[in-house]
Amino acid sequence: MTWERLEPRMVAVSLTWLLPPLGSTLLTLLLTGGDLNLAAVITLGAIVLTFVVIAAVFAVRLATTRFRLDGDRVELRSGLLLRRHRTVPRDRIRSVDVTATPIHQLLGLRVVRINPGVQAGAGRREVVLDGVGVARAESLRRLLDPGDAAPDTALAVLTWRWLRYAPLSVWGVAGVGVVVGGFFRLLDSLRINPADVGFLRDIWSGLTGMPLWAAIVLPVLIVLGLGALTSLSTFVEGWWGYRLEVTGDAIDVRRGLFSTRSVWLDRARLRGVQISEPHPLRWARGARLNAIAIGLGTSEDRSTSNRSALLPPAPRSEAFRVTAGILQEEPDLLYGLKLTGAPRAALRRRLSWGLGGVLLLEAPLVLLGALLTDVLLHIAWISAAVLVPLAIAGAVDAYRNLGSGLHGNYLVTRYGTYNRRTVLLDRAGILGWSIDQSVFQRRAGIATFVAMVGAGRGGYKIRDVAVADGLALASAATPGMLDELLGVP
């Protein structure tokens, strides 16, 4: 086969690296009214230079990249001075994703990611073909994807009523914080005093003119509103056109509005699923669903572009139904789920963590308060009055969420305070066990059992289970694996 190149149109994408310096220069000129001091000029110059270098490197890499498909492997060559040659055997490919940023879409281009999976001791070694024509991307995907059967009906498609779960994600609020923080850091690095910026001064004088309660409640409402709006638009962008298909031995997820993501997964790589119910979502009886599969990363990766996500935030019943479908089990798989709770010692541990944390926080306040000023003492007791009940509630919630058991072919563990996670692991995929104990756990007769798997986080914990129960559960899940430990000859 001949070597192929990336589309020359990609040069336009490398030019987008020049947008941030242009934007920051324009913004500075706008904010200062065209009056730049030396520090600002140096900062802007540095920014421009950095991005010009990045754009140049990007363009060189683009021009030197070649790839080809041989009978049994994919090869990629790139670099001008430092030449790299990568080869991935085709039978090792674990997933093929086709994505596109808005700019790629505008130019009719796609990014093809060929993932050879996680290798022990090495980082992720993806082969990325950034800048392939739409038709070629689709044909690559079909060529490299062994499960090329006729599509069955979709297991799940987007339902717009799920949109109501979107604002229940806290990432939106955090996103607003990041943007505001970044804005002020930019002003700082450009040596611009926020008080000199017209609209900020107006906002400030507006706030100080209001009664105290309004000056507190209004910004909180605005931040929450903006946060919800961010979450909503992230949801729409990320899950537009969502479609989950199970065809033969493959699972196929497509989604995304501007940036389309498409994840293809061989079922042989699936080791289980994780259902997460963070608090606001749990109140609304909603849940998220992630695959635990070789080569897909963990559910803790960034939630917006998470490759292991199988379902948007959706009703829990929907997550249950899709779980059963993915695992090819009876639809009521999760309804009969019975988990054994943890012993009381686990509650005591969580209470002492929570209260210990509060104590660590309060101790310096009380100490300094006694030495210096009564104000600190007042802050101490007021904050304790809020934090102690919070810590207790968190500990009780964490304790009640603890659970573990066997359910058919799956080992199930549930844990978490704010975010309750239920993990179903295929028993056949367990590679080994780790039994961890601190001095305190030893004294309380409990231990944390970790089931090692070759996917997701690598190890899934059954926290603070009574030692005898844990041993019984582990040996029932993986018969014979604990023989050395139990002294079985």
Binding site: A120, I294, G432, G454, V467, M481
Partner: protein, 162 residues
């Protein structure tokens, strides 16, 4: 000890205690030395610096004296026909059991201090991303021999190649 659980059969080499003492000294000396220097040089803050020096010093001494022996009492290992079983740690203890069929690679590895005492560690990797099983502080020739044995045994058992 864990009720109803058998500990692995073998202890480490006694030289491991000395290795851990040296390692603990390497970790604990710099903060104590820096604090001592500051206490000597900065007269106005001598009370506070001296206090933190005393606390840090006591912790460091306790670490150097207690940790190596505690570890030596805990650490154990065993290699059977079916599995590798290792117990390690001191305050936090961890026992790891890995079936022979799931072993992907076996290496020996030793840092400079460990080599100084003629010791080496065994590193047993599986497909799990949660990290390999380490058996540190073995006699160097024993570690090499074990690595050989494990490699042949793991190869003899049909693995699942995940």
């Amino acid at each position: 000890m864990l009720a109803g659980v058998k500990a692995p059969r073998n202890r480490l080499d006694r030289r491991a205690v000395r290795w851990w003492i040296v390692q603990a000294l390497v970790v604990a000396t710099p903060p104590v030395a820096v604090l001592a220097l500051l206490t000597a040089l900065i007269a106005p803050a001598r009370t506070w610096l001296g206090l933190s020096l005393a606390i840090t010093g006591a912790l460091a001494v306790a670490y150097v004296v207690v940790m190596p022996w505690w570890r030596y009492r805990v650490h154990r290992w065993e290699v059977t026909d079916d599995a590798v079983y290792a117990l390690s740690g001191w305050w936090w203890q961890r026992r790891r059991i890995t079936p022979m069929a799931r072993i992907q690679t076996v290496d020996t590895a030793s840092g400079p201090i460990q080599r100084l005492f003629g010791l080496a560690g065994l590193v047993v990797t599986t497909a799990s991303a949660a990290g390999p099983v380490h058996i540190q502080g073995l006699d160097r020739s024993l570690a090499a021999e074990l690595a050989q044995t494990l490699a042949t045994r793991a190869q003899a058992i049909p693995g699942d190649g995940q």
